[in-house]
């Protein structure tokens, strides 16, 4: 379990994080979202005890990160931003060192190293200096190190950055697999990642918490939530006006090609039916018609932009 209470970090001229209060329970995967410089990494650095907060507290499994740093850190696995590791070491030696310093000994050490090597598919590079590994392997070595001691709380700063789509998929499945009994916080820029692995999403900007909801809950804030997108075979200048006149339609957006129109209605299903009826009535040939469930990037932009304005 992870609890922060009015966590604040001020640098000389800048307040990086302001009064951040969060509570993350085991079984939750919290996605930490925000534009660059929003305070995501600073928050993670305070939770993991790297930076001391200016005020407020962070608590990992009942241990305050400032008063009981060793106890708190033992419960934590941390993947820092950019997955740093000592480049001259080979992953095998690196993982052995991480096990030693975390007090994982003997047969348990061998068992845990085998487990993470298997989970992250590192067997082929165990004896290659980390500096010579590809970005994807480096990231996975960083993840292996964070999972090594099977910590109840995992903090990962952009865990899938630099991975190819297959590796991203693999790491996300891995996170879902281990999520059941762990408290996991990940920061990411990739919004589809939030939908695929997170049970909860927090948006921060300028150090302030702006939204705290499930990914589905955030999606309902999207203006595209009940939208219907229709693509006509031939452009029709009257289409926009006609669609806008349908009952329950708030707005119609037209794409640059002049053929794709997004109809923002109040009820997705009803709007779709009306759009289809209108199309056949007017004799427009329809190339595609699909309902939209809302767009997370649009919610993200709305929330973070209104704050900046």
């Amino acid at each position: 379990m992870l609890v922060t209470e009015a966590l604040t970090k001020r640098f000389a001229t800048l307040t990086a994080v302001q009064d951040l209060t969060l509570r993350v329970e085991p079984g939750e995967v919290l996605g930490f979202l925000g534009p660059n410089g929003a305070g995501k990494s600073t928050t993670m650095k305070m939770i993991t005890g790297f930076l001391a907060p200016t005020s407020g507290t962070a608590n990992v499994c009942g241990h305050d990160v400032i008063r009981e740093p060793a106890a708190a850190r033992r419960k934590l696995g941390y993947l820092p931003e950019g997955a740093p590791a000592w480049g001259e070491m080979v992953p095998a030696a690196f993982l052995r060192f991480m096990a030693d310093i975390r007090g994982v000994k003997g047969a348990e050490r061998a068992r845990r190293i085998d487990a993470v090597v298997d989970q992250l598919q590192l067997a082929s590079v165990l004896q290659q200096p980390i500096a010579t590994l590809s970005k994807g392997f480096k990231r996975r070595v960083g993840l292996a190190q964070a999972l090594l001691h099977d910590p109840p709380v995992l903090i990962m700063d952009e865990p899938t950055d630099g991975l190819d789509p297959n590796q991203k998929h693999h790491v996300r499945s891995l996170i879902r697999e281990i999520a059941a009994e762990k408290t996991i916080v990940i920061s990411t820029h990739i919004l589809e990642e939030v939908e695929s692995v997170c049970t909860r999403a927090v948006i921060i900007s300028g150090g302030h918490l702006l939204a705290d909801d499930t990914p589905a809950g955030l999606l309902t804030r999207s203006r595209y939530r009940d939208a219907v997108q229709v693509t006509l075979r031939e452009p029709d200048t009257s289409a926009r006006e006609a669609l806008a006149a349908l009952p329950g339609v708030r707005d119609v957006e037209i794409a640059a090609d002049g053929q794709t129109l997004t109809v923002l209605g109040e009820d997705g299903l009803a709007t779709a039916t009306r759009v289809r009826e209108l199309c056949s009535e007017r004799g427009w040939r329809v190339e595609a018609l699909r309902a939209e469930g809302g767009r997370l990037d649009d919610v993200f932009r709305d929330i973070t932009r209104s704050e900046a304005a």
Binding site: F11, K45, T48, G49, F50, L51, P69, A70, A71, R73, R74, L76, Y78, P80, E81, G82, P84, A85, W86, G87, E88, M89, A93, F97, M98, D100, I101, R102, G103, P129, Q145
Partner: protein, 244 residues
């Protein structure tokens, strides 16, 4: 303690997985050997002692030790591994001590590799081996003092080049503190106490007495105090500058 040990082992192994350690050891041993004969005038003195050998140590250390210490913290900061290291369940003090001890052990290895000098002088004559042993201990202590300074300077910056140059400068000034080059800066305007204080800081005068075979408690306290002070400063600087 196990934290210090794990850091120590990782660091020490780190020296030997890259060619840097071997280059360093070979050049150090070759240079100190050559200089003993050519600059120190080992043969010309026609004495069975290692005075000309130990006399070179402070000067070689002033150059080699900052080169060894420059990467200790600057590199961690530069590559971001400092964040990994300092979020492990160990304290900053343990990390500083572990890294320092590994670097010190490495210099002791370098020092041990000069043992053929000791055999040579025993082959050629009958030196006072007690004096030589004391001088080796003194030399290792002096290396530790220089290393603590180097480690501290390395924590100040993320540039290894700057760490080396500043480290070298501080070591050089401390060596020369008993000599007019440095003392003249203070004499004339500073009170006597300050001048004497600066003079007492000199590594060279301390080491000279040890290399004559006299291990004075004050010299031991001086070198241990030096190490303790700079390592403490090292820890404080890391804590202060973490965010950068």
């Amino acid at each position: 303690m196990s934290g210090i040990l794990a850091i120590f082992r990782r660091e020490l192994a780190g020296y030997f997985v890259t060619p840097v350690a071997y280059v360093f050891l070979v050049i150090f041993v070759a240079l100190i050997g050559a200089l003993t004969f050519y600059v120190g005038g080992f043969y010309e003195q026609r004495q069975a002692d290692l005075g000309s050998f130990f006399g070179l140590h402070p000067w070689l250390y002033a150059f080699f030790i900052p080169a060894l210490a420059m990467r200790l913290w600057a590199e961690e900061r530069d590559t971001g591994t400092i964040e990994l290291l300092l979020t492990l369940p160990i304290s900053t003090t343990q990390a500083v001590i572990g890294k320092f001890l590994a670097a010190w052990a490495f210099t002791v290895v370098a020092l041990a590799l000069t043992a053929p000098m000791w055999w040579t002088v025993n082959y050629l004559g009958n030196p006072d081996n007690g004096v030589i042993a004391a001088a080796y201990i003194g030399s290792a202590l002096m290396a530790g003092g220089f290393l603590a300074i180097g480690s501290f300077v390395s924590a100040l910056t993320r540039s290894q080049v700057i760490a080396f140059i500043v480290g070298f400068l501080i070591c050089f000034v401390l060596l020369m503190a008993g000599y007019p080059l440095v003392l003249d800066v203070f004499t004339g305007w500073a009170p006597r106490v300050v001048v004497e204080g600066v003079e007492a800081m000199s590594f060279l005068t301390r080491f000279e007495s040890i290399s004559r075979g006299v291990i004075d408690l004050r010299d031991l306290i001086y070198f241990s105090g030096m190490m303790a002070f700079f390592l403490f400063a090292n820890v404080s600087i890391i804590e202060m500058k973490k965010a950068e």
